[in-house]
Every structure is written in C-alpha cells, then in structure tokens.
Symmetry: C2
Subunit: 357 residues, 2 copies
C-alpha cells in the first residue's frame, strides 16, 4: 500500500479479490487491470503467479498463487482438488473477510464452484444465478438478463427467485424503483413456454397477489419474447442458464454481424464508401456503447458475498471494468439488498428447521 495521506481512508475502503489466472491474454493483463483500478481508488488483493506479473501499483497487494484451474475440463472437481489454485484462494479471501468481493474469469463453472464451496450460498437461496445488465440502444437503462449460464436448467422455484433477485439487483445497482420483470418464453400468453415457465408464471403471479404490505418490489409483466428483450418491454428478463447464455451470445453475435455487414455495405460503391467515412465516428460511439467488454462482466448473485465474472477473452480494460463493477456492487450492498428483497417477498427457501415445524 502507498504511504500517502489517503491511506487511512483507503484502509476502510472495500477490497476486491481478483484471480489473475483465467484471462486468455494471461495474468499480466489482469495485473495491469488491477493497477488501473487501484488508480481509481479500489483496493485489490491479487491472486496469481508472482513470477509472471509486472510491478504493481500501491493499492494492489499480491498473494502468490501460481496454480491455475482455468483450463480444466472438470472445473468443479478441479476447484475441489486444488485448494491453492488462485481462484479458490481468492474466493477464500472473500469468505474470510480479507476482501468483500471476488472477480474471476476463466469459466463460469470454476467461478460457481469456487463461490459455492468457499463464499457459500446465501441462506434460503436455491441456486446462484449469473445476472448481466445489457445495454440496449434506445433504452434509458440496461436490461438485466439472468441466468446467463450458472446452471443450464432451472425449476420453477428457481425462476421465481431469479425474478426477485434480478429486481432487487436492478433496484440496487441500476436505480430502477419498481423493475418490470418478464419471463422469457416462446409466446406472451401465460400458457406458453412449457411446464417450467408456466409453473413459474403461476407461482410469481400468486406470490404478488398475496402481498398486502407496501408496494410490490417488482412489476411482473408476464411472458416476454425474444423481440421484447431489445424492445425494452422489461427491465429484468428471467430464464434458465441455457436459454440465457444462448440469448446473451446471440445478442453479441448478431450485433457484431450486423455491424460488420454494414461495414461491408459501406465498401460496395464509391458513394457508400464516402457515406461510411462520414458515419464512422457515430458508429464507433455506438459500437463502444454495446461492447460487452466495457460493461465488465456478469454478477454472480445468491452467494454470501459478491462475485463478478468477466469473460476470459477480455483485455485489461474489461478486467478493470469488472473490478470497478465489483467495488460498486459492494458500495451499493447488492448482496444484502438482494437478500432482504427476497426475504420481504417470501421468496427464500424455508430452512430445514422451519420446514419441519
């Protein structure tokens, strides 16, 4: 840590534990991100191979953890069998209170396993979910999609919890007072979407109808279709991890394909080429506004501490954004507020003791 006058202030600031292994571009890329985040006042506890890292900024403390499970084919087993792996050590730091949030790339499976085994599932939560606020052109606030890949399948009660978790998240982080929540389906009617979506629709409707105290924490807009996601029909879109992950990657893929096609169209004639040149600056700004890397990654919700999961292919700015996102999540108490909202909504799973009464 630097010995400057801000040190006493810094000591009370939250610490973000960062796994340096897991970036496709290597640990030095993550270290550079940690340095950049520290310059913006974030305290970072960096877990990675000391021998491969550049000099670190004041505000970044290194824990030498050369072992990586990022490329493992069986991440759950790898996390279990390698207690000294950097991602496991970083998660342990959050569990032990040395850090208040975790940032780790290198696979959702490893992040989920390290989080579940060390930070632990929050009380009453069926399953954690990965939530991603997606910037949508023309929408004033991002649309939060969850689950984008923590678990492929979901049962109805999982989707119901995701609805309340996503709404609490959108309120805490995005400042949306009473988020509109939709269930992603293949039709808007309540009977569409198959058994699981239909049951979740019914449960959510019943829970909201039973409420008597105060304003509802969310407004359930029913089923939403794929086109509704970009139409801004809901602030929070709930689905299972398979459909959510496919959706997320389609949004990225289609955006990028359309932009490339427009670039190609702007090469087809002299006239179009001039047009493309004149439009270039506006298009660059648009491209940046929807760039997933500038967002920093998805929030893993439902643990006792916060985790942010950037994409392994991100370069250092993407990891910096992830660390800042984690810091902001701690500042806004995403974990506490999400849990309180679930409790207030009666959406927590009854504990074994209560269930046996």
């Amino acid at each position: 840590m630097g010995a400057d006058s801000a040190e006493s202030l810094m000591e009370s600031a939250p610490v973000v534990a960062v796994d340096a292994n897991g970036a496709d571009l290597g640990p030095a890329e993550v270290a550079a991100a940690a340095n950049a985040a520290a310059e913006q006042g974030v305290r970072v506890l960096l877990f990675g191979p000391a021998a491969q890292l550049p000099p670190l900024a004041p505000g970044v403390r290194l824990v030498d953890a050369p072992e990586s499970v990022a490329k493992s084919a069986d991440p759950v087993r790898a996390v279990r069998e390698h207690p000294n792996a950097s991602i496991v050590a970083a998660a342990r730091a959050v569990a032990g209170g040395q850090a208040q949030a975790l940032v780790c790339a290198g696979g959702t499976g490893a992040a989920l396993a390290a989080g579940l085994f060390n930070i632990k599932r929050a009380r009453g939560i069926h399953r954690p979910a990965l939530a991603l606020p997606l910037p949508i052109p023309g929408c004033p606030a991002p649309v939060t999609l969850l689950d984008v890949g923590a678990n492929a399948h979901a049962r109805p009660e999982h989707l119901v919890q995701f609805a309340f978790m996503g709404a609490a998240f959108a309120q805490a982080v995005l400042g949306i007072e009473q988020p509109r929540v939709g269930l992603l389906s293949n039709g808007e009617e309540a009977e569409r979407g198959g058994d699981i979506v239909v049951a979740a629709h019914a449960q959510l409707t019943a829970m909201l109808a039973e409420r008597s105290d105060g304003p509802a924490p969310l407004r359930f807009v029913g089923n939403v279709e794929g086109t509704d996601v970009t139409d801004g029909a809901a602030d929070v879109v709930v689905t299972d991890g398979l459909t959510g992950n496919v959706s997320l990657k389609l949004i990225e893929g289609v955006s990028s394909t359309v932009l490339s096609a427009i670039r190609d169209a702007a090469m087809q004639s002299a006239r179009a080429r001039v047009g493309g040149l004149l439009l270039r600056r506006s298009l660059r700004a648009f491209r940046a506004s929807i760039d997933p890397e500038s967002q920093g990654g998805a929030y893993l919700l439902g643990l006792r501490g916060l985790a942010v999961v950037p994409h392994g292919r991100f370069a250092s700015p993407g990891f910096t954004a992830a660390i800042l996102r984690a810091r902001r999540g701690v500042d806004t108490d995403v974990v506490g507020r999400t849990h309180a909202a679930l409790a207030a909504a009666g959406a927590l799973r009854a504990s074994p003791v209560r269930a046996s009464r």
Copy 2:
C-alpha cells in the same frame, strides 16, 4: 382455373392449400398473395371467407370457409372442436390428396394441431419441428434453426431426430451436401448444456460412429454457442422450441434494433446525416436480405405432408413467399427425403409392433 393453353400442364402441378384466416391484415391480404403466387405458376386451393375476398386469379380455387380459429386462446381444443375452420379444412385437403402442401399462419399451436390431427405425424417421428432457414450476412447459405417453436421442451431423442431432419432438409432444400449440424448449448464442451443436451450429444455421436455404410448424412460439429449461429459454424442448429423461438426472435429483434440505432446515429450531426444518405441504398439492400418476411416462414417437418407457417404479421409478399416456399418444398420432396434420411440413419422411432418383438 383459366382455360388457357397452359391448363393441361397446370393440372399436373402440385397444389398448395392456403388458409386465408390467420393474417393480422385479414383474409384479403392472403388472397392477394395467392393471386401473386398463381401468376408464378402455383396452383392454390384457398380456404377462407368468400364474402371478404377480392376476385381471384385463374389458378386459385376458393373453398368458402369463413370460420376461423386463428385468435383462439386454446388452439388445440379449437382445432379439435371446429372441423369446418379454414385451417382444419385446408389441412384435410392435404391429407385427402387435393393439395400437396399447407400454408397457414395465425399461430404455431393451431398449425401444429391441424397438421397432427389431419395430415398426421409421419411414421417413426416423435414430434414435428419447425425449421427456419435464416439468412446470415456473410454466409453463403442460410443456417437452418430448429425447433423454432413447435414444442417448448424436447427430450434427447427428439433433438437427435431434429438433427437428422434438419440435415435432410438442408440437403434437399438448400443443396448442402453433408450439412454440419450443431447442438445449441451454453458451452462448446460435450458436458455443457444440461442433461438433455448432454444426452443428445452422446446419442448422436454414438449413432454416427456406428454407421458403416456410405458417407454420413451429416457432420456433427458438437455443441455450438449463440455466437456460433451467426459465425456460420454450423449449417443446421438444433435446439428445443423454447430456446429456438427465443433465439429466432432475438436475431430479428437485435438486427432491427442495431439498424435503428445506426439510423439514429446518422441523424446526430450534419456530417453523419450526409453519410447516412450516401449509405442508404446499400443499407436498404442489406435490410431486405435479412427481412424475415422475404423468406416466407418456417417449415413444419415430421408430418406426412409439408406445411409452411408464415408469421401472422406478414403482408401479402410474405404470404406469397410462403406459398412459393411450400411449392418448392413439394418439388424437392422435402417430406420424402427427410423421412428417407431418418430411416437410413436409424433415427426413426421403432413402431409398437417392432418394439414388441
């Protein structure tokens, strides 16, 4: 029918049964489409409300069927209880041999029910699937996505049949010799995607490995992610109807949102405005190339006859494209070739008699 010299030729041409009820814009819109298709040599048997229809071209024969189940909340029941509804009568015409293919909009549920109850499921087929060839900018051939919404859920054996059905379709209609088939998943590894996708992956791999006679009808490229759909990683992408329908509508929604955002970007400055004007012609061509309406709708595969399902919001050119698509499907014997491919691959369900041996 017109009494011109082409009449004898016309008599041997396939007939397409078209339900005129089901277009959001009304039956006259579908009648106009039938007229346009007839001008291109297709014989149409049109089922709809005679009182509401404009004069019909030679080549279009009208069956007065004013009753519609297009707006029914329970399409399966509506189809069952209204044998004179236009969609049911049109499906019966295919079953009875008066027509060789069906075109009907107004809801997947009604199309599926009318098809199953009248045209009937083909022998050995677990379930029909809706297949849609999607034009992808930069790809030489469309990517066929199935199921885009016939059934929300799918079991592993359904996905395996969809793989062979989709491949046979891509070969027959799109001329792709040995289509590359992928399973849509939340990761490329064989263990990703949840129980159902994992089991389908294993079954498909085993079936292809067991083959000894001749070249395989498809090349299984394993799991594909959302980004792979627009990257052209597979010619056929297989998934259940929930994820497939969401994917299809996300592709439409995101394409349209990005194009709108670019139009907005082209209004931000005088410089950008000039650029937008110069690019307009190229962008219009691009927009047309990915317009779902120009494609004509999805193919309902797995029945004893072909059905094409356009979107209810299509205007007359979209319905014309659907009728031409149905005619082409008859000409290329999509139904026969798909079934033969499934039989050759050993992917047909054993009949009760065979199963009891």
